[in-house]
């Protein structure tokens, strides 16, 4: 069963490496591989603003920016509910880091000039540029004469929006001057007036089917935009002015990260702060625009909580030493369990190896399928797991030994011991798993990697104990070596005290020699175990002992324990049926 599982696990990984981009080793997290990690902390503007929805939108925007900047394999995740962790491999430059650090800026600017995206000095679509800002002050935000200076015009002419590198977004321009920007798809370029409405003034944006004034569906996808109380009068003012202008001056541009995401034209004065953007939207494009507009209305910005560069050499050194520590620890465990449990220790070792194999396989598989990355705390979790996993075997073995001490034959002892150990293992692993889940759900960064490996190894532990160790024990219990309790098997009844001299009932005494050869101990609770306590022996036992001593000059059985804690009071408690 487990064999099948392991084979399936590794077969899928091998298949992955063969036909996909999986690898035989798990992916490493930044602290082992080297790279830069930025943790952003949201700063809400009001209570309750930080929701998983706003965080997800923010992540989408950051991902868009980082991807556009050409950094491969950036990993952007939310952790602990509200943190955003941006992990960039290698040594990204300052500009890329700035993209991550600065929060997105959305603003509404009036369109002054709109042109074809290519850099053409004689752009036919561009109206003739004004010479100098001759006026001391603009007539209004749409005043071309004031805002479009020759310098701005020149910048506009030189800008080539067909090139992807010019459409990566960037820092927003000065809110009080004209601004040259590309359409995000590279379909047009614009000279924009000063900022009229900041993004915070958007209350919400949704996408849906457009409706006429009578409520009938127009069958077109539209984006509905709603402004806040502060934004409504501003929007009314803007639409009042723009509605009377000629194209392209009747458009306003929605600018996100210095890119124009939409430039709708205004057809009428909108007094109630509820606008509808219609056009050739599909379902997806409408939803995307609504999302982007919502981001502009995100009531949160971000501060950098920590920013770490980890050198790859240091990471690999830590990994190497950590693994060395793990191997060394494992060796010590092997030596100790061989010492304590003899051949049974080999079962521990085999089980640990199987557990290690399964864990490795699962981690590799997850890092391929889910993008899981092994971090240093994760490695620590794995090493700690050696102990917790080995404990399951120890609990099991000790229970088997307990049953042997009670005089059961090995087969019965394994069965009964398993019944009892199973309960204990399940209960304690449940507790461990609870701990791992709680840690995982609540934690950030390193703690998370640790909790993950802890939870994973707990599950693997259960799997191995149920599907490997226990069946193996049953099989071993059928071999002569174990069933007869060979001294090296670790299950030697003599070492477990079953075989000491004791009263067998009806005036007979069971001596070691009589039972040693193979005949399984009776399963009833009638005969077994060296009973009793203290130095007390029954008269019959003493006599038998004396006989035995005479006969074999054997060492006297059962000298009274010298331990001081053992009080004579215990003598009385010598066995009998209660």
């Amino acid at each position: 069963m487990l064999g099948l599982l392991v084979v399936a696990l590794f077969a899928s990984i091998l298949a992955g490496t063969r036909w996909s981009d999986a690898s035989l080793t798990p992916n490493l997290a930044l602290d082992l591989e080297g790279g830069t990690q930025v943790i952003l902390e949201p700063v809400p503007e009001a209570q309750g603003d930080v929701t998983s929805e706003t965080i997800n939108q923010a992540i989408a925007v950051i991902r868009q920016r980082v991807d556009a900047s050409g950094v491969a394999e950036a990993e952007i995740t939310s952790q602990g509910g509200d943190k955003i962790v941006v992990a960039l491999p290698g040594r990204p430059d300052e500009e890329t880091l700035d993209l991550v650090r600065t929060s997105a800026q959305m603003e509404f600017r009036p369109v002054l000039v709109m042109g074809a995206p290519a850099a053409t000095p004689q752009d036919p679509a561009a109206p003739p540029a004004a010479d100098q800002p001759t006026k001391a002050s603009p007539d209004g935000p749409s005043d071309i004469a004031y805002y479009v200076t020759p310098e701005v015009q020149q910048e506009f002419d030189a800008l080539d929006c067909t090139l992807p590198e010019n459409r990566t977004g960037g820092a927003p321009g000065d809110p009080d001057t004209a601004f040259v920007a590309c359409d995000q798809e590279g379909l047009a370029k614009y000279i924009l007036g000063p900022v009229e409405i900041p993004g915070e003034d958007i209350k919400s944006a949704t996408s849906g089917m457009g409706a006429t004034s009578t409520g009938a569906s127009t069958g077109q996808w539209v984006v509905n935009l709603e402004f806040t109380g502060a934004g409504t009068p501003k929007f009314t003012e803007v639409t009042t002015r723009l509605a009377s202008q000629t194209p392209p001056l009747n458009q306003f541009a929605v600018v996100l990260d210095a890119l124009v995401i939409s430039a709708p034209s205004v057809n009428e004065v909108i007094p109630n702060g509820q606008a509808q953007i219609s056009g050739s939207f599909t379902r997806e494009t409408a939803a995307t625009l609504a999302n982007q507009l919502n981001f502009g209305s995100l009531p949160i910005s971000f501060t950098v909580q920590s920013e770490q560069q980890i050198s790859a050499t240091l990471g690999s050194e830590q990994l190497q030493k950590g693994l060395l520590a793990g191997v060394f620890g494992l060796l010590l465990v092997v030596v100790y369990s061989l010492f304590q449990y003899r051949a049974l220790g080999l079962v521990t070792v085999a089980s640990l190896l199987v557990a290690a194999l399964v864990t490795y396989g699962v981690i590799t598989l997850l890092s391929w399928l889910q993008g899981y990355r092994l971090s240093l705390p994760g490695v620590a979790g794995l090493i700690v797991a050696i102990g917790i996993t080995a404990d399951s075997f120890i609990v099991y073995f000790e229970r088997i030994r307990d049953e042997l001490r009670d005089g059961r034959a090995l087969g019965a002892a394994i069965e009964k011991g398993w019944e009892r150990a199973r309960r204990t293992i399940l209960a304690s692993d449940a507790v461990n798993f609870t701990a791992a889940i709680v840690l995982y759900l609540l934690a950030v960064g390193g703690v998370r990697g640790f909790a993950f490996t802890l939870g994973l190894t707990t599950l693997v532990d259960l799997l191995v104990v149920f599907l490997f160790t226990h069946p193996l024990m049953i099989l071993l219990g059928r071999t002569r070596f174990f069933a007869e309790g060979h001294p090296a098997s670790g299950l030697d009844p003599r070492r477990l005290g079953v075989d000491t001299l004791r009263y067998g009932g009806r005036g007979r005494v069971v001596t070691p020699g009589r039972r040693a050869s193979g005949a399984p101990a009776p399963e009833s609770a009638r005969e077994p175990v060296a009973v009793g306590s203290g130095g007390g022996m029954t008269i019959a036992e003493r006599r038998a002992a004396a006989r035995a001593a005479q006969a074999a000059a054997a060492p006297p059985p059962d000298a009274p324990p010298a331990s001081g804690t053992d009080e004579p009071a215990a003598e009385r408690a010598e066995g009998s049926d209660r």
Partner: protein
């Protein structure tokens, strides 16, 4: 020795040899109380030494340099920012870690250039990090939330599993005992508290409860039918359980501590400051104390709590009375702390004269 150990295990199991842990619980309570108090004092003075994650600041890592030249690093930083008192630590075989207070972006660049020049290494061998002061707080706040949620869940699970809230209560008191002592010892050693340390502390939660559950499971098994017999008290049955799991506890803690100890040794002596070392120390101390407490604190506490239950109290009184009556002639009576081998009884033994039929009219 192994034979001795196995023999010892047998004796513990059968009750031939028994350590009266539950009976002498006041002694263990006292020891623990002292340990907890000492830890509490250690937490106040010298107190925990917060790492940069909790103080906030900038950190530089220079790799591939001889590590004996720490003054050079200090001088370099002070050339950029004179009031700065940087902390320089060796990390791994050939790296220096330099921690300063928060620097501006320009200062960070300057320090990096200065370090590259001073140590004659390339820019790519120097990394920098900025950590806001809220990062560590955040981690520990999450840790505390995690602790509370975890306690709630575990109490529920244990109460349901053992069908008795007292076991859960005892386990959780033992847990706090472990946590306080571990944190206290960490403070005493004076290593920096980093998020890795916090991870270590959190793991102890899991381990401590885990270990206690294993012991309690045996206690539950042994005491299941306590009320149906009158030979042994609840406390004696529980004590036998502790003794019977003693071998398991020792083996488990050795096996769990060995890998942790090997990380600790490698972390402390080879790697220097870092995640592995911090986590390993917290775990090492925590696991050790956790094993101790599940034997010497959790079970006795559980017995103390259970003995408040009227049913158990009545039963204990009944057993002791019967024993006093029966054993009166032997003069051992009800002496508290007398070890009664509470092993399952076997046929064929002699019960002593007290068990013989009594002559009428005596």
């Amino acid at each position: 020795m192994a034979t001795g150990f196995a023999q010892w295990g047998n004796d513990l199991y059968t009750g031939r040899r028994s350590y009266d842990i539950v009976g002498k619980r006041r002694r263990w309570y006292a020891i623990s109380l002292v340990l907890v108090l000492v830890s509490a004092v250690l937490l106040v003075k010298p107190g925990l030494n917060p790492g940069i994650e909790f103080r906030g600041g900038s950190e530089f890592m220079v790799s591939g340099v001889p590590t004996d030249d720490q003054q050079l690093a200090v001088d370099t930083v002070q050339a950029v920012s004179p009031e700065e008192a940087p902390r320089v630590t060796t990390v791994g075989g050939s790296s220096l870690r330099i921690q300063t207070a928060e620097l501006t972006n320009e200062q960070v660049e300057e320090v990096k250039n200065g370090l590259a020049e001073a140590f004659d290494v390339g820019q790519d061998q120097i990394t920098s990090a900025y950590i806001g002061p809220s990062w560590g707080q955040d981690v520990s706040q999450k840790a505390v939330t995690g602790l509370l949620v975890f306690l709630l869940f575990v109490s529920l699970v244990m109460t349901v599993y053992f069908r008795n809230w007292r076991m859960a209560a005892a386990a959780i008191i033992a847990l706090f005992h472990d946590l306080i002592i571990t944190v206290g010892i960490y403070a005493a050693i004076g290593w920096e508290v980093t998020p890795a340390t916090v991870i270590g502390f959190l793991t102890i939660l899991g381990y401590s409860i885990y270990d206690t559950v294993v012991v309690f499971d045996k206690v539950r098994e042994n005491t299941a039918d306590t009320l149906e017999q009158t030979r042994f008290t609840y406390a004696e049955r529980a004590n036998l359980a502790v003794n019977q799991t003693l071998v398991r506890s020792i083996n488990t803690s050795v096996v769990a501590l060995l890998p942790v100890a090997s990380i600790l040794v490698i972390g402390a002596f080879v790697l220097g400051a870092g995640t592995l070392r911090d986590i390993a120390l917290a775990l090492f101390v925590g696991m050790f104390v956790g094993t101790f407490s599940s034997i010497f604190i959790a079970t006795p506490l559980e017995v103390t709590l259970r003995e408040r239950e009227p049913r158990i109290r009545e039963h204990t009184a009944k057993v002791l009375a019967a024993r006093a009556g029966g054993d009166g002639t032997q003069g051992e009576g009800v002496t508290a702390g007398a070890v009664h081998a509470a092993a399952a009884l076997r046929p064929g033994g002699h019960l002593g004269q007290g068990a013989q039929p009594r002559r009428k009219g005596r």
